[in-house]
């Protein structure tokens, strides 16, 4: 049943190719975001550009919504909003989660285990509901921070456990026995951590926070009107998308493609949730 899943050289090169495709896709997305004002034919939120709920046509490639807004322009602006919020959120998730977890594992055992316990409790709560709670305790304007902070506990736990396993390996014990201090070992391991897994972890965090951010906006806890991200656009389309599919389909497609690029760049296994 499982004898053929060992990654062959062909499989490895395919993975490398997909990872490169993911990074190229993310790069193109960043370019599109930075040029969003030029790529969009209408300003963000401009209503009455076309007829109400017009289906996709030569004049309006993505159709129009219930206020006559050009869906192509709105999708480009929404993508821009989503990416601009997701990048700082991913950085927060990365530093508060993965890097802190990796470093916390090297602390004195009682302190390290206390942090692990705390992170474990937070990780027992779905990240989405944790983000809702953080926004409830702060403000909607803090959605990016909330998404990053709520994605962090799981990253913390994973990095902590990985670091603890590393500390039981023979090479770690040999290095320690040569007289290297714990802090010197931590600095060395952090360099390796940055070099080997930073890019993949960043892309993984980006995929995770993009899902959280867009879902937050869909639930009404993220972006605030009139500035709309993709999640809020889909939420607004919920009332009439059953008869005007394009109002939800194109923002959803843009969101899915963004998450797909991040997943490919992270080299996530098939189906694995970031």
């Amino acid at each position: 049943m499982t004898d053929t899943v060992t990654i062959s050289p062909v499989g490895q090169s395919l993975r490398g190719l997909l990872r490169t495709a993911g990074w190229i896709g993310l790069g193109l997305t960043v370019v599109a975001v930075s040029l969003s004002d030029f790529l969009a034919t209408a300003p963000a939120g401009a209503s009455g550009i076309g007829p109400i709920l017009a289906p996709p046509s030569a004049a309006f490639q993505f159709g129009t919504d219930v206020l006559g807004r050009d869906m192509l322009s709105e999708t480009v602006h929404g993508l821009s909003m989503t990416v601009r919020a997701a990048i700082p959120a991913a950085l927060v998730a990365l530093f508060v989660g993965a890097l802190s977890g990796f470093s916390a594992a090297r602390l004195a055992v009682p302190l390290a285990l206390s942090f692990r316990w705390l992170a474990g409790i937070l990780a027992a709560m779905p990240a989405l509901l944790l983000a809702v709670l953080v926004i409830g305790l702060t403000a909607r304007g803090w959605a990016a921070l909330a998404a990053g902070v709520s994605a962090a506990p799981l990253g913390f736990v994973r990095a902590f456990d990985r670091a603890r396993v590393q500390m039981t390996t023979a090479h770690w014990n040999y290095a320690h026995a040569t007289g290297l201090s714990r802090s010197a070992l931590l600095r060395r391991d952090l360099v390796y951590e940055f070099r080997d897994v930073f890019a993949a972890s960043a892309a993984r965090a980006l995929a995770a926070v993009t899902i959280i951010l867009s879902t937050l906006s869909f639930l009404g806890f993220g972006a605030e009107p009139p500035r709309r991200d993709l999640g809020l656009m889909i939420a607004a389309a919920k009332a009439y998308y059953l008869h005007a599919w394009w109002t939800a389909a194109f923002p959803a497609l843009a969101l899915t493609i963004l998450i797909l690029f991040a997943r490919l760049a992270a080299g996530l296994d098939e189906g694995e949730r970031p």
């Binding site: 867009s214 889909i234 959803a252 997943r263 098939e270």
Partner: protein, 294 residues
């Protein structure tokens, strides 16, 4: 085994204590502006009340939180249960199928795309297909049209109940198949498999006596992770399909600053994850002990 269960039970109790501390802290948020000492005093009182399963009254409805939970939690647990059934029916066969290299490679691009779809988009897509292709009555806005029944009493209710169950189940199936595929890939690289073949055991014996239990052990060991996926999906499904469950209540409670309800629901959800993790680890332990994978 007994020692292992006792250690895990200790971990569970510590986790539950932490969840109770956090739930009580959330319930005390309303007093955060009264000074640090006042907050800690209220926090202690809340923790004491939580220990006696007294969660206070809802700031929205004025009803005791226990009454609110008695109404909304069965809906959420019912949806979770339906999701677990769908996740098992889909996720386990797919997990085994994708354990095989050829099928895994063939389906990989499709699975990657499917996994990139956020749960709320999947729920809306299911609703669109049900309305436009199956002509099912689907309620997306406003109050749930078939009340608060846990189990459907008619065909229309069953149709309405199927979509959220499918949404939760698909999210769970994704988590299940990932854990199983990952375990299958890890076991495929274990040297003991080759050694078993060299001992003269048939492929069937090696797979079904040694490999399959290890894959299930991995699934059990990651039950907490699967539960997290299911709970997230439940929150989204309840919102999309207007089901007045506990996850929906949590979102509304936070929005309306009903911290008593938010703290109690958070405690319940964290407890569900911790208990699933505990049960999964205990179920996995004898399977892992019997096999050779650690």
């Amino acid at each position: 085994m007994l020692r292992f269960v006792l250690i895990e039970a200790g971990r569970l109790l510590l986790g539950l204590l932490g969840a109770a501390l956090m739930g009580a802290a959330i319930a005390s948020v309303a007093h955060a502006g009264d000074g640090v000492l006042q907050f800690f005093s209220v926090w202690g009182e809340q923790l004491f009340s939580f220990a006696r399963l007294r969660f206070g009254d809802s700031a929205i409805s004025g009803l005791p939180i226990v009454t609110e939970l008695a109404t909304s939690l069965p809906l959420t647990l019912g949806l979770l249960l339906e999701g677990i059934v769908v996740a098992s029916l889909i996720g386990i066969p797919v997990g085994f199928l994708f354990g095989m290299g050829a099928a895994r490679r063939a389906a990989a691009p499709l699975i990657q795309i499917a996994a990139a779809v956020p749960i709320f988009c999947a729920g809306l897509a299911l609703a669109y297909l049900a309305v436009n292709f199956l002509q099912w009555p689907v309620q997306l806005d406003g109050p749930a049209w078939f009340g608060s029944a846990v189990f459907p009493r008619s065909l229309a209710e069953a149709q309405a109940a199927l979509l959220p169950a499918l949404t939760v189940g698909l999210a769970g199936a994704s988590a299940v198949q990932v854990v199983m595929s990952r375990a299958a890939a890890t076991i495929a690289r274990e040297p003991w498999r080759t050694q078993l073949y060299r001992m003269g055991l048939s492929r069937w014996d090696v797979e079904w006596i040694y490999v399959v239990p290890q894959i299930f052990a991995a699934l059990f060991a990651h039950l907490g992770e699967v539960m997290l996926s299911l709970l997230s999906a439940t929150a989204v499904a309840e919102w999309v399909f207007s089901r007045p469950g506990a996850a929906d209540l949590f979102v509304k409670s936070v929005a309306l600053r009903d911290w008593n309800a938010a703290g109690a629901i958070m405690l319940v959800f964290a407890s569900l994850t911790l208990i699933a993790d505990f049960m999964g680890r205990c179920a996995a332990h004898p399977l892992i002990s019997r096999g050779t994978v650690r």
